[in-house]
Amino acid sequence: MQDEHPPVEITVYENGPVVVRGAYKLQNRDRKEIDPGRETIALCRCGLSALKPFCDGNHALRGAARSELRADPEGGFPFNQVKAPRLSTTNP
């Protein structure tokens, strides 16, 4: 039976990471394998992740895609009350 799916699928998410699925092998420059701990992985493409090569959601700290929208001005669990959305980060 012909498998119509590629062995590895790489998807680029808007304002987000690259998500990799399938029979990939993740390795460092020395070709040493990195255990991702899960099947579907998100790789950082903004450089802000503290857990590179994996994404840790830090791209959102760029503030590029942020607006003033908040669910609850009193502050949800945990932090919806702050109007100014941009965060400083130590990782340039």
Binding site: E39, E74, G76, P78
Partner: protein, 337 residues
């Protein structure tokens, strides 16, 4: 799991009835339920309503020691649940307003924006910078009701959606359950967190200490998850849970490291930093984006589910912060027997 202690007239009547043979409810309970819309100020923080609702839903999970499992589908208990859900839904929706300019196609990016990181404040800032180990233990007890059941309420949605939304939901859920590896599900990591903090990891061990606002995080999920008509709401709940979670969990693990929490204790948080960076993309774009495309008449349910979830978490956060500021403990103190 044992039945919890009652917290008011409804739970007193209900819990007295449950050890018996499944059948009709006493008229006294029916009358209390009929009056609920008038007697309930905010069902989300009403101790009697929430402990009763939590118990009703308990039959759909693992049930209770010495209580007949047939209660799960007993019409009289479903009627009790329905009456409780009616006031809970009323008070959940009272704070939910659909954003005026939002379009169905805009939902994924709106969700990312709504739930994504912002400057830590309130409870998160406190946990990161000020909380003591005792307060981390209290927080672990509050969240044990949902943490030890992580992913279960969202699993109800799997047979209720199709297409791209289903694929994304399954991909997220598989990871939540540890990819099938024993001991790696997020619920099991939560049990490890509790054990490392010298807490009892058995589900419901602390139920009588957990206040309504904490229970409502779990009862909201169960209410949305157990009803097909609200399949969009449970997906919205999942999206609001996953998006921004990496950021929250990073602050929790750093806060717990500050008070000397072990690496093993922090595993639950550390796992979520990486896992939810994947899940949030799948949840917003694939799951919710797919749902909007395939179920255009129900797109607003995603929005309602997400907003209701954030509002309940805000209520929970406020109640904890206020309790710590004034009472010393955020847990319910049991009356001396």
């Amino acid at each position: 799991m044992r039945l919890p202690a009652p917290r008011g007239p409804v739970s007193t009547a209900l819990f007295a009835r449950l050890p018996g043979e499944p059948g009709p409810m006493p008229s006294q309970l029916t009358e209390l339920l009929d009056a609920l819309p008038e007697t309930t100020v905010d069902a989300r923080s009403d101790e009697d309503v929430q402990i009763s609702l939590w118990t009703c839903y308990g039959f759909s999970y693992e049930g209770f020691d010495g209580v007949d499992a047939r209660w799960e589908w007993e019409p009289s208990l479903l009627a009790v649940r329905g009456a409780l859900e009616a006031v809970f839904e009323r008070d959940v929706l009272a704070e939910v307003r659909m954003p005026e300019d939002l379009t169905p196609e805009g939902v994924p990016m709106w969700l990312m924006d709504l739930c994504g990181p912002s400057t830590p404040a309130g409870l998160l800032k406190f946990m990161h910078q000020n909380a003591t180990l005792e307060q981390f233990k209290e927080m672990a007890i509050h969240r044990s009701i949902e943490g030890l059941r992580e992913a279960d309420a969202h699993a109800w949605a799997i047979p209720r959606v199709a297409g791209r939304a289903k694929s994304a939901l399954v991909e997220i859920q598989a990871d939540e359950y540890g990819g099938g590896m024993p001991g790696r599900s997020h619920a099991e990591l939560y049990a490890i967190l509790m054990s490392e903090l010298d807490l009892d990891p058995e589900y419901g061990a602390y139920i009588d200490h957990i206040p309504a606002a904490s229970l409502s995080i779990h009862t909201l999920r169960s209410m949305f998850g157990l009803q097909r008509r609200w399949r969009g709401r449970i997906l919205g709940n999942l999206a609001a849970t996953e998006i921004g979670s990496s950021f929250i969990n990073r602050h929790f693990t750093e806060g717990m490291a500050r008070v000397g929490g072990s690496k093993k204790a922090r595993w639950f948080y550390d796992e979520h930093i990486v896992a939810d960076a994947v899940h949030e993309q799948l949840a917003a774009h694939d799951m919710c984006g797919g749902f909007v495309a395939d179920y255009p008449a129900e797109w607003d349910h995603l929005v309602i589910g997400a907003l209701a979830t954030l509002n309940i978490r805000a209520l929970f956060a406020r109640s904890i912060v206020e309790a710590w500021a004034t009472e010393g403990t955020s847990l319910r103190e049991l009356a001396a027997v």
